[in-house]
């Protein structure tokens, strides 16, 4: 079987790492030819992803694939720029949720891929279930990503004293990762704490209010970070699965998480994790304080984390599951476009876009009215100043023409002559 995974670029990201692990496993365990294909035009030719073959779209020539897999909505259009018998999308999240309402076109683009003639590979059952509601009849197979059990399963002891070592996960420049909220929770604590932020791009983090920022780590480096921490804090608002807590579980590291989509696949409140509500700063802070005080609770959560980790698949099992799914996709008829969903998606995008534009128009009109009022005020003020100036000038002329002023000037001049003599 010949497969390719389409990536926008080779910049580090959770999604690219998952695709690369699968590509590696498909080649090693199943004898498949598995390429990574980079879709972003321009720039230098990618140096490579370790031992994996990496190609750009322009280098593919007449190369044909049994299944081509897009890994991000913006790579989906490239599925039709290469030769493929079947096309699929690795749904690691519903990516329209990454954008705020001021990015309506990105939202629309990300939503539209759900109507395309594709098979879907979801990283979590909830994604399959929601897709089934959004697009009844969509063909979707669940392939949870694996964990490198050798790297992440190393031993870790629960510290009984000292400040609580909090590890915050997320890139602060992505608001939906909830890093600001996690930092606020740590700041709300009254117990001693040491905080570390692990980010994909630490250079872009800026001032965040933690004791330490780390990033650019390889898997061993991340595993070491888990071992030296007491709790992982992940207060995301949007996730497909959120794999870092699962990695941490393998080191016995419990987590404090919000109930983001995907958390229910592994997080059990008071068993291996603490689940706090979204935007609940007092709650998150109070829980961290309790974990700092109650190390027995921390130890119990740590045990729970290890138990959960045991049942999570390793990469070999995960890729085997993907391989079976790819075989099924290759054997089945090509998927069809869901025209009705596409039309509904465009209709909603238009309606919301129209309302958004109306809001912009209203805001612009209001801003113009305010600006006009300011200009009028300034103009009135200028006229008033001119009048006052004229009055002051007239007054000055009147004073200069008065007998008293002239007498005073004459006396001053006479005084000057006397002083010079």
């Amino acid at each position: 079987m010949r497969v390719c995974f389409l990536l926008p670029s080779l910049r580090p990201s959770g999604g690219a790492a998952v695709a690369a692990e699968h590509a590696r496993g498909l080649a090693r365990e199943h004898g498949a030819e598995a390429d990574l294909v980079v879709t972003e035009p321009g720039g230098e030719r990618p140096a490579g992803f370790g031992d994996l073959p990496v190609r750009t779209l322009s280098e593919l020539g007449g190369r044909r694939y049994d299944v081509a897999v897009a890994t991000w909505w913006q790579t989906a259009s490239a599925l039709w720029e290469l030769g493929a018998a079947r096309r699929a999308l690795l749904l690691q999240s519903f990516e329209q949720r990454f954008y705020d309402p001021d990015a309506p076109f990105e939202r629309l683009g990300a939503e539209a891929v759900l109507a395309l003639p594709l098979d879907y590979l979801a990283v979590a059952p909830w994604i399959r279930d929601v897709l089934a509601e959004l697009r009844p009849g969509a063909r979707c197979r669940v392939v949870p990503p694996g964990i490198d059990k050798e790297v992440f399963a190393a031993g870790r002891r629960v510290r009984r004293e000292g400040p609580l070592r909090v590890l915050i996960d997320g890139q602060p420049t992505l608001p939906f990762k909830g890093v600001r909220e996690a930092v606020a929770a740590v700041e709300a604590m009254s117990e001693p704490v040491h905080s570390t932020l692990v980010a994909l791009d630490p250079g872009a983090v800026g001032e965040v209010g933690v004791d330490r920022v780390v990033g650019g780590l390889d898997a061993e480096g991340v595993a070491a970070l888990y071992r030296e921490s007491d709790v992982l804090v992940k207060l995301s608002r949007v996730e497909g699965l959120g794999l870092t807590p699962v990695e941490g579980f393998h080191s016995g590291l419990p987590c404090l998480v919000t109930p983001y989509t995907g958390h229910a696949e592994y997080a059990r409140h008071a068993e291996n994790a603490i689940v706090v509500g979204f935007d609940d700063r007092p709650g998150a802070g109070a829980w961290l304080d309790l974990l700092a005080r109650d190390r027995d609770l921390l130890a119990s959560l740590s045990d729970g984390a290890r138990r959960t980790a045991r049942s999570w698949p390793d990469w070999r099992a995960s890729t085997a599951s993907l391989y079976r799914a790819l075989l099924e996709i290759a054997d089945a008829e090509p998927a069809q476009t869901d025209v009705s969903l596409l039309v509904r998606t465009l209709a909603l995008g238009s309606e919301l876009g129209r309302a958004r534009l109306r809001r912009l128009d209203t805001a612009t009109e209001r801003a113009l009215s305010v600006a006009e009022a300011h200009v009028r005020d300034l103009s009135d003020s200028r006229d008033e100043c001119s009048e006052m100036l004229e009055e002051a000038r007239a007054e000055l002329t009147r004073i200069k023409g008065s007998r008293a002023y002239r007498a005073a000037r004459a006396a001053k001049r006479a005084g000057g002559v006397l002083r010079r003599r």
Binding site: D100, R237, R281, R344, L348, L352, A355, R359
Partner: protein, 223 residues
């Protein structure tokens, strides 16, 4: 639970009612509740209980009300009736006035409950205490009804334009209602996402978590 029946139908716990006593809203409680879950900001004269509120200083937790499990099973609406309710009387009146001026029909509802939710397809909740999502919003989402609220600073995980819609002024609320009534099928995916978002507030999950919170925090305090 100690609650007004209307509120209980939106946010009550399932099951036999065993567990710590929770007072929902400003209702009186037989005895001292383990906590009071307000739909407004806490005030200085409030009883000295643990308080959960959508926002405000002094609250033990910040959260909207849970969404009763039964609401997730509610059948889709049969029409496009739009309900107007919420604690901000001024905003409610302004929305009603703009709707009337533009010939858009809204049904004013004094007290939202599960029965009213069953009747309508869309709910304008005209309030946002402290800039936060109204307490009853998860119930609307769980029921699979379109939620329209004022612009929020604290959305408790919700996303404007994906699982609900927010309005900047009363006129925009009416524009959104018109958009919905023009193409209700297009909003179907928003209702799906609304239910997904409401899952984080599903009553059976939230109250179970709350019971564990009370137990562990009381144990931690004693320790």
């Amino acid at each position: 639970m100690s609650a007004d029946p209307a509120d209980a139908s939106l946010a009550g716990p399932p099951g036999d009612g065993r567990g710590p006593l929770v007072a929902l809203g400003d209702t009186g409680a037989p005895g001292v509740p383990a906590l009071r879950w307000l739909d407004r900001l806490p005030r200085s004269g409030d009883p000295p209980e643990r308080v959960i509120a959508p926002a405000g200083d002094g609250a033990w937790r910040h959260a909207p009300w849970p969404a009763a499990d039964a609401l997730f099973e509610l059948a889709p609406p049969s029409g496009t009736a739009v309900a107007l309710t919420g604690g901000n009387a001024g905003l409610r009146a302004a929305v009603a006035e703009h709707a009337a001026a533009r010939g858009v029909a809204l049904e004013p509802i004094v007290r939202l409950d599960a029965r009213e939710l069953r009747r309508c397809a869309c709910v304008i909740l005209a309030e946002c205490p402290g800039g936060a999502l109204p307490a009853r919003a998860p119930a609307v989402l769980a029921a699979g009804r379109l939620l329209i609220v004022p612009r929020l600073r604290t959305a408790f995980g919700l996303q404007d334009g994906l699982d609900h819609v927010e309005f900047a002024d009363p006129d925009e609320a009416v524009t959104l209602v018109q958009a919905y009534c023009r193409a209700p099928a297009a909003f179907a995916r928003m209702l799906v996402w609304g239910r997904v978002a409401a899952e984080a507030q599903r009553a059976s999950v939230v109250y179970a978590r709350l019971a564990a919170d009370l137990r562990l925090h009381d144990h931690g305090r004693r320790a």
